[in-house]
Subunit: 159 residues, 2 copies
C-alpha cells in the first residue's frame, strides 16, 4: 500500500513536469470574472494587425489577486493573478457602437509552476458564452506575442 | 445652551427641507469609483441625438450598494446606490478606438430624502479629472430625460 502510494506520487510528479515543459497544464474557467475589476477597453477594427482574431470591442478584467499590482503598474504580477480579455463583436448602428455578441474570452492565469514554458502564464480561450476551449498549442503562439511586454502583459490600467 | 442646540436642529431641518424641494442638495464626489463594478460601455458618435454633451466613449460603474440590483435588473435601486458615467473622448487611430482624455464623469446618487425633486436621484458632473461641478440646474434637465426609464436608469448590466 505504501509502495503503491509512493508510485502514484512519482507518476503525479512526472505528469506535472511534463505539463510544465510541454505547456499541457490547463487554465481553469474563471468563475465570476464579470464582477472583477475593469482594467481597460479597446476596439480593434478591420485592418488592425491583430484584427484576426481580436477584431471587436474588448474589455480586460483582473481578479482580486492581481488588482493592486495592475493599478500600480507593477510587474511581475503576483502568482494567482488572472486576467480576462472579454471580446465582443462591435455593433455599430445609428451613430453608436455597442457590445454585440461575445466572440470569446481570453484568459491568462499566472502560475510559474504550472506554466513555466510560457513565461509563467497559462493561456486559454473559451468560445462565446461557453466553456469550450479554443487554444490548441498550449499557449505557445499567445506567448510568442505576449513575451514582448513586461511580464507578458499588454494591458495598462486606465485611471 | 439647550435652546441654542435645539434652534440649530430646527435650522438644519429647514435647510434639509428646502434642499429636497428645490434640488439644491449636492452629490458628493465619489471616492474610488474607478474600482467599482463595470456595468457597461458604449460609444456615441457625432450625429447621435445625445452627442451633445455625451459624444465619446463611456463606461458606467456601480458602487457596492447598487451592484446586486443592477446585475439582477431590479428596480428601484437601493438607497445609497451611486452610478458613475465615465466619459472620454473616443481616440480613433490606426484601425483602433481607444480611450482619449476624460471629458467628465456624470454621477447619480440615490437618496429619496435628499433628491426627492428629481426622482430620488441626485445628478452631478465633474469636469475632466477634477472635482469641479458642472450641473447648474439642480439636476432638473438630467431628470427630464432619465424619468423615461425604470427608476430613471438607462444602463443595463452587460453579462
Amino acid at each position: 500500500m505504501i509502495r503503491k502510494t509512493f508510485g502514484s506520487i512519482l507518476i503525479a510528479v512526472a505528469v506535472w513536469q511534463v505539463s510544465a515543459v510541454a505547456g499541457t497544464a490547463t487554465v481553469k474557467y474563471p468563475k465570476n470574472w464579470r464582477e472583477w475589476t475593469h482594467v481597460k477597453t479597446l476596439i480593434l477594427q478591420a485592418g488592425h494587425p491583430l484584427a484576426d482574431p481580436f477584431e471587436g470591442l474588448h474589455h480586460v478584467y483582473v481578479n482580486p489577486a492581481g488588482k493592486e499590482a495592475i493599478e500600480a503598474g507593477k510587474t511581475p504580477l503576483p502568482e494567482g493573478t488572472v486576467l480576462v480579455f472579454d471580446l465582443h463583436e462591435a455593433a455599430a448602428a445609428d451613430n453608436a457602437i455597442a457590445e454585440g455578441p461575445r466572440k470569446f474570452i481570453g484568459v491568462m492565469e499566472k502560475s510559474t509552476a504550472k506554466f513555466g514554458a510560457t513565461g509563467g502564464w497559462g493561456f486559454e480561450a473559451f468560445k462565446g458564452d461557453s466553456q469550450e476551449r479554443a487554444v490548441t498549442d498550449g499557449g505557445a503562439s499567445c506567448w510568442n506575442c505576449h513575451a514582448s511586454q513586461p511580464d507578458g502583459v499588454f494591458s495598462k490600467w486606465t485611471k
